[in-house]
């Protein structure tokens, strides 16, 4: 089976050909390592960068926690020990994220034919549940502070401890959130290296880029690499010139589609959930600081502490809503937000030779990896292979879904 079939100069064919050399056959025949459900080199790089970040955050957290535990035991203060326990929950959240990141790279097995990418989603769900649990625990603590008669609650200590907690959380938020510049560069450098090697793996990573074209940062790096592509001297160049425009065209369309996403480059979902955890903690620390300050200033106003905690807990819950919605949508196997299923279906139905489209399913394995399966009924006299290529080319070109399974039926 030749993977570079000399195709007629029919524009969509050529696009498909170059944009995914092993992609065209890779889609028809996902063999082992060249399939995009395996761990591509770009995925692995992104994942190891995230793992490194999280490891640093965990180590920092453990150090701070040890400091707080020692301080709390020496000062014999329950408040400090409680805060140390909150830091422990941070460590737990990071540990969950680390495990999910590591596990998502496992090779697919016959029992888990799509690989283990879903573990990321479940890990993120677990993290979010932890955030909710912690918010509940904090509210409970505020209530118990209210109920225990005063004297035990020292406003000044509360203030100091939560200020320290806030400081720690801000450091970690900066550490975890500070990825846009580096990540972007990392990607484009990674790609130029990959391209110079020019072997099949890298065509896949290039191809990967196209799939995630709806995400903006990758769109940008693709244009860089296509320029590189034209400079280097690997063998695919005779057809590189024409489709270069098409590539830009593709990127343009995905640019437009993802226009809103320009401002927000995509983070790995596990790093994002760890980030949310840290942000939630800082918000809570601010709330506790305000409460502690108030109690310090006027110990009779204890009820304000409770109200403050409640308000800030609600704020924290709101920050998690968007991520929970994304997680639920993936777990429910729903059509990803960026793809309009009705438009896809009408587009397919409008194609030459297609009589009907049914059982169209589009779902995501994890945020960013989308699959499609549908049954297409074609006219009696149409050529099945050509129709298959047309349909697959349309879906890939318009919607950037690379893993497509189409059942062609005749009327």
């Amino acid at each position: 089976m030749d993977s570079h079939n000399p195709s007629p100069p029919h524009v969509p064919e050529v696009t498909m050909d170059v944009s995914s050399t092993s992609g065209a056959t890779g889609n028809k025949f996902c063999r082992g390592s060249s399939c995009d459900f395996s761990d591509t080199s770009k995925d692995a790089k992104e994942r190891s960068a995230s793992i490194r970040k999280l490891l640093i955050a965990v180590i920092l957290c453990v150090i701070f926690m040890a400091v707080e535990v020692v301080g709390g035991i020496k000062a014999n203060s329950l408040a400090i020990l409680t805060d140390a326990a909150h830091l422990l929950s941070d460590v737990a959240a990071f540990a969950i994220s680390l495990f999910s990141l590591w596990a998502a790279g496992w090779e697919a097995t016959p029992q888990q034919s799509y690989g283990f990418f879903r573990i990321e989603i479940l890990g993120a769900l677990l993290s979010i549940q932890l955030i909710w649990l912690l918010a509940g625990i904090l509210v409970y603590e505020a209530i118990s502070r209210l109920l225990t008669e005063s004297g035990e609650v020292q406003g000044s200590l509360m203030f100091a401890v939560s200020a320290f907690g806030l400081f720690v959380n801000i450091i970690m938020a900066v550490l975890l959130g500070h990825d846009h510049g580096h990540g972007g560069h990392g990607h484009s450098h990674g790609h130029s290296h990959d391209h110079d090697h020019g072997n099949e793996e890298d065509d896949h990573s290039h191809h990967e880029d196209h799939e995630q074209g709806h995400v903006h940062r990758h769109g940008a790096s693709v244009t860089i690499t296509t320029h590189q592509h034209s400079h280097s001297s690997s063998g695919l160049h005779h057809d590189a010139e024409e489709p270069l425009l098409k590539h830009e065209g593709d990127c343009e369309s995905s640019d437009h589609a993802g226009a809103k996403a320009v401002k927000k480059p995509r983070r790995n979902i596990n790093v994002h959930s760890a980030y949310l955890h840290v942000i939630g903690d800082s918000i809570q620390s601010v709330g506790v600081m305000i409460g502690g300050g108030l109690i310090w200033y006027k110990p009779e106003w204890k009820i304000i502490d409770l109200i403050c905690t409640l308000i800030f807990s609600v704020i924290v819950l709101f920050t998690t809503i968007k991520m929970v919605r994304n997680i639920l949508e993936v777990l429910m196997e729903s059509t990803p937000r960026e793809i309009d299923a009705t438009r896809l279906e009408s587009g397919l139905r409008g194609m030459e030779g297609v009589v009907a489209v049914h059982e169209l399913h589009v779902w995501a394995i994890t945020v960013g990896k989308v699959l499609l399966a549908c049954h297409v009924t074609i006219k009696q006299d149409a050529d099945a292979d050509q129709m298959l290529d047309m349909v697959i080319g349309y879906i890939k070109g318009e919607y950037n879904i690379s893993h497509v399974t189409i059942q062609i039926e005749r009327e």
Binding site: F29, R31, P110, Q111, S113, I143, S144, W363, Q407
Partner: protein, 363 residues
């Protein structure tokens, strides 16, 4: 085909309520017609107490019209839903009363118990919501329908139970470090009431009161998780009562012991459910089909006349009992792809996998 004396290979196995048969055979199309017309086997292969009681009538597919995708679901449509709603109402009422009393009398123990009950109520209401919403018809956003909600609800319940076990362990540690004078004896009233309400719940869902269950339908997982939830809660209340009693008898460290045992018990109870629901969410291959069956099918397909190669058979389960698959088949030059399609579909239907998309290429 309708002859009741005809050989029915699925007699007493398919459709029997015996939950021990994990790899039960599914209907194949040819025998579906026969089985549908033949009477339900009076004496199923095993009529033991572990069969599901028939009154829990399964949903006939042509039942009451499924709700539309708006929020006016029919919340009290089936008997399990009504029972769950009753449980929820009882729990919510009790938790509200406990919270009020705790706040008024300043007893922190009551407040924390009320919080715990509220979390539990929240979860049970999510289960109820899942039961109500899962019958909604599929739409363009949720092309597979809403059945996954039941699995999600079961998973969330399992997570909560894991958290509960962990928090019980922490509580045991806590009471190990404190001395006994701090034991809150007033909590015993609350524990007794809780125990009764939860035992009522266990009775309602008694057919799911096992640790390892074979899941045949989506609602199996949800009901199982609800049962385990109320069971775990009742074990916890029983543990608290036992601890109080032992303490009053003067047994040292009774609380630590009881809480520790309860924590371990809850953990062991919930682990199989957690693994099973987690696997479905991770898109593992269908559990009711042996892996060797897939290999055998693969070999049969490759051996078929017009087929040159089979690649990438991927199967996963939407909910227990509804498997979905995607295959890619390379057809020989000049071969008839429609007959290949029919053949492959037929093979997998015998295994019980109806929802397949097969891409034939290269003729």
């Amino acid at each position: 085909m309708g002859d009741p004396k005809a050989w029915n290979p699925n007699y007493g196995v398919v459709g029997s309520a015996d939950r021990r048969l994990a790899y039960s055979r599914q209907f194949s199309l040819s025998s579906a017609a026969a089985a549908a017309s033949s009477p339900r086997p009076g004496l199923a292969r095993s009529d033991s107490s572990i069969s599901m009681p028939v009154p829990y009538s399964p949903f006939p597919l042509h039942a009451a019209a499924p709700a539309n995708a708006d929020f006016r679901f029919r919340w009290l449509a089936t008997r399990p839903m009504r029972r769950l709603a009753l449980l929820l109402a009882l729990n919510a009422a009790y938790s509200a009363v406990e919270l009020a009393v705790g706040l008024l009398t300043g007893r922190v123990g009551l407040v924390s118990d009320a919080f715990h009950l509220t979390f539990g109520c929240g979860l049970l209401s999510f289960s109820l919501f899942a039961m109500a919403a899962s019958r909604t018809k599929p739409d363009s956003l949720y092309t597979y329908g809403y059945k996954r909600l039941e699995v999600l609800a079961a998973f969330t319940n399992a997570l909560f139970l894991l958290f509960l076990s962990f928090s019980l362990a922490v509580e045991a540690l806590h009471s190990f470090m404190q001395d006994e004078s701090e034991h809150k004896h007033y909590l015993i009233v609350s524990a007794v009431t809780n125990l009764f309400v939860n035992l009522l719940g266990v009775w309602f869902f008694r057919s799911y009161a096992r640790v390892n269950i074979v899941y045949r339908k989506a609602e199996d997982m949800n009901h199982h998780s609800i049962c385990l939830h109320v069971l775990a809660d009742s074990v916890r209340s029983a543990g608290l009562i036992l601890a109080s009693w032992l303490l009053s008898l003067g047994v040292e460290n009774a609380e630590v012991l009881c809480l520790g045992i309860v924590s371990v018990a809850v953990f062991m109870l919930v682990l199989p459910l957690f693994k099973a629901t987690g696997n479905i969410l991770l898109q593992i291959a269908p559990g009711n089909v042996a892996p060797s069956a897939f290999i055998k099918c693969g070999r049969q397909i490759t051996a078929y006349e017009d087929v040159s190669e089979l690649s990438q058979g991927r199967f996963w389960e939407l909910v227990p009992g509804h498997a979905v698959g995607c295959l890619s088949v390379q057809v020989k030059n000049g071969g008839d792809d429609q007959s290949v399609l029919k053949y492959v579909h037929g093979l997998y239907e015998d295994l019980g996998i109806q929802d397949l998309t097969i891409q034939t290429e290269g003729s």
